[in-house]
């Protein structure tokens, strides 16, 4: 907090590359839209282990959604790290908490 050369407008991240955001956007949009297209899965068959399609299809989207978000997480944290390094080149910020005026 005592650092005087940090202002409101000091950038925390460099410019973004669009590709990771576009891919993540598509994956997340799929995870939102697919479970909501009810006419596609509101039917009884084919059954799986006795579960009507309506029930197993929706439950199947739980792990799929987790995987899609996992990929997005991986893409965006890598991009975040790169953008951050672009404005704060010094390494070694692995502190468990932020003490405010830590950055230069």
């Amino acid at each position: 907090m005592s650092a005087t050369n940090i202002t409101h407008d000091s950038p925390t991240r460099g410019p973004a590359k669009p590709l990771p955001y576009v891919i993540s956007g598509v994956l997340l949009a799929a995870a939102i839209i697919m479970p909501l297209v009810v006419p596609m899965y509101a039917k009884d068959g084919p059954r799986l282990f006795g579960f009507p399609f309506f029930y197993w299809y929706q439950m199947m989207w739980v792990p799929i959604c987790a995987i899609l978000i996992g990929i997005s997480y991986w893409l965006l944290t890598a991009e975040d790290k790169r953008r951050r390094a672009a404005v704060r080149p010094e390494p070694g910020h692995h502190g468990r908490h932020d003490a405010g005026g830590e950055a230069k």
């Binding site: 995870a31 439950m59 502190g95």
Partner: protein
């Protein structure tokens, strides 16, 4: 979660059983686990305590020091979002009314996480930099509008109260199944609930958010244990899933002589596609507007903790899906969920009753304790979140602008007691269906804060008065429409959460129609006010705030000055 439960309260019928007895073994197990959890709650005050300052600030008491890592956050948010009421009400809805009012919880908790992933990292960053504790803090910083901030804060507080009340309803259903209580005497009847409430109130007061964070771990171990055992054992006992779905399908397609209708859809027909999808989407959009979800988000250590959690929290949704299906298992098992008087059928008792009927008493005790403890975690977080809103956005903003962190913590602790006490009176004084109706309204109301909060995370385009107008229109329309839904059995108002879009026959979740209206009003009024050049509020946030991480310097020291020009928006 209870969005579609309004219609359940009408499902009451007579049944020929004697009065309930007390199941001693199960009751002892529940009491022992409850006491252990209470002790843990008190101990939590010392866990990662706030250094020399103790718990005397909102950051420490109300946000657990803002340093929960991925694991604790997983348990905390899991315990926060999947409440006792979920575990009781979703299977109850499946048991009584079939898939549309119950199983929508599955797509709801699927589409929830991409939405969280998209929104919450930005909210975390800007809140961390400015020391925001509530969404109303953020809206206040972003738009510089006292009425808008107050609208967001009051909506949050009022929507949370019945939600807490429903946690107590969850505890009550466990106690009823155990045979505790006395229908003839209101004080003895509610005494166990009052005791549970006092335990909750005292450890929340002393330990703040640390208590539910710790208890959430215990709750999850119990819940996962109970559900996994139930899912493996019960289907084999009742003839496999094929037979269970068969029994459910038969119930849902057999006309009930009392109402002249079928209980509900086994698989939704074309007339309920829109209702099913909007219930799922609207509930998902609303959930992270609730103060308690935001509290869980802001208590995390770093920007990415919440994104990582969005990828692993869906594990709970699988548990929820199977729990929902326990409602069908109970149909196949012929579970008879009956109140203490031995006559009134109450669907809310179906899962506790299923466990009690089909497992040894000690294991049923573990499962019932899981539900009861599962109520303590969210109830604690909700009361903390509502108290923080009161402290920050009513006490400090309106009455004591120079409040010190210590004063804030003190006010918040007291407010959390008041909020919980209000919820208790709610449950004891009014009946459960009033709490359900209020919760239904709460869901509609809280979604009306979405435009101000979420649009604000990405753009400063909307005018503060336009957002206020949109909020007001959404609240009025939503309340009026929900009031107009009449329960076909009891003829009571607030009979459900589904209504036709005006001018059409398409039935959808009322919260979503109100939200669309809200957004359109906000858009149109912004265009008008911009054209008229009506002055807008000051924005103390800057573009760089929205991507800040834990290693970036905070800007609280700057927030007070240099606010003349709003920052660029990315």
């Amino acid at each position: 979660m209870s969005a579609a439960l309004g219609n359940l309260t009408g499902v009451l019928a007579a049944a020929p059983t004697a009065t309930r007895g007390i199941n001693v073994t199960a009751l002892v197990v529940v009491i022992v686990l409850f006491v252990l959890v209470g002790i843990l709650g008190f101990y939590a005050a010392r866990w990662r305590s706030g250094g020399t300052d103790g718990l005397h600030s909102l950051d420490e008491w109300g946000l657990g020091g803002r340093k929960f890592g991925s694991w604790i956050t997983w348990f905390l948010l899991g315990g926060d979002l999947y409440t006792a009421y979920t575990f009781v009400a979703v299977p109850a809805a499946m048991w009584a009314a079939g898939s549309v009012s119950g199983f929508f919880a599955v797509p709801y908790t699927i589409v929830l996480y991409p939405i969280v992933f998209l929104l919450m990292a930005r909210l975390w960053s800007v809140s961390k930099r400015h020391g925001f504790v509530t969404t109303a803090d953020f809206v206040g910083g972003r738009y510089g509008s006292r009425p808008l901030t107050l609208a967001i804060a009051l909506t949050g507080i009022i929507a949370t109260m019945p939600y807490i009340a429903l946690q107590l309803v969850g505890i009550k259903s466990v106690l009823t199944v155990l045979g505790v209580g006395n229908p003839g005497n209101w004080f003895l009847n509610d005494l166990p609930l009052i005791v549970a409430f006092v335990v909750l109130a005292v450890y929340t007061y002393t330990s703040g958010l640390r208590a539910p964070a710790m208890i959430a771990v215990v709750k999850d171990v119990l819940i996962y244990l109970a559900v996994i055992v139930a899912i493996i054992y019960l289907p084999s006992k009742f003839g496999g899933w094929e037979h269970i779905f068969g029994a459910a399908q038969e119930k849902m397609t057999t006309v009930n002589p009392a109402t002249g209708k079928v209980p509900g859809p086994f698989i939704p027909g074309a007339d309920s596609y829109a209702a099913y999808a909007t219930l799922a989407l609207g509930s998902a959009m609303a959930l992270f507007m609730y103060p308690h979800s935001i509290t869980g988000v802001l208590a995390t250590k770093s920007r990415n903790t919440i994104r990582k959690n969005a990828a692993v929290l869906p594990l709970y949704s699988l548990v929820l899906g199977f729990l929902a299906l326990l409602g069908y298992v109970a149909i196949a098992a012929g579970t008879h969920p009956v109140e203490l008087n031995g006559k009134t059928i109450n669907p809310q008792l179906v899962v506790p009753q299923l466990f009690l009927d089909n497992f040894p008493s000690w294991f049923a005790g573990v499962a019932l304790a899981a539900i009861a403890v599962g109520a303590l975690v969210p109830a604690a977080i909700m009361s903390i979140a509502a108290a923080n809103l009161f402290t920050r956005n009513i006490y400090r903003d309106l009455f004591r602008k120079d409040a010190t962190p210590r004063q804030e913590a003190k006010v918040s602790k007291l407010a959390s007691l008041v909020v919980k006490f209000g919820a208790l009176i709610f449950v004891i004084g009014l009946d459960a269906s009033a709490a359900i109706n209020m919760q239904l309204l709460g869901g509609i109301w809280i979604l009306q804060t979405f435009p101000a909060i979420v649009a604000g995370l990405y753009t400063r385009w909307f005018h503060k008065w336009a957002l206020f107008a949109g909020w007001a229109v959404g609240i009025v329309y939503g309340t009026w429409t929900a009031y107009s839904v009449v329960n076909p059995v009891t003829h009571a108002h607030f009979g459900g959460s589904i209504a036709a879009i005006p001018g059409t026959n398409t039935k959808v979740y009322i919260a979503v129609t109100a939200f669309v209206l809200n957004a359109v009003v906000a858009l149109v009024v912004t265009l008008v006010l911009r054209a008229l050049k009506v002055p807008d509020g000051k924005d103390i946030t800057r573009a760089s705030d929205y991507g800040a991480d834990e290693d970036d310097p905070e800007v609280r020291a700057f927030a007070a000055r240099s606010v003349d020009t709003p920052g660029p928006v990315i």
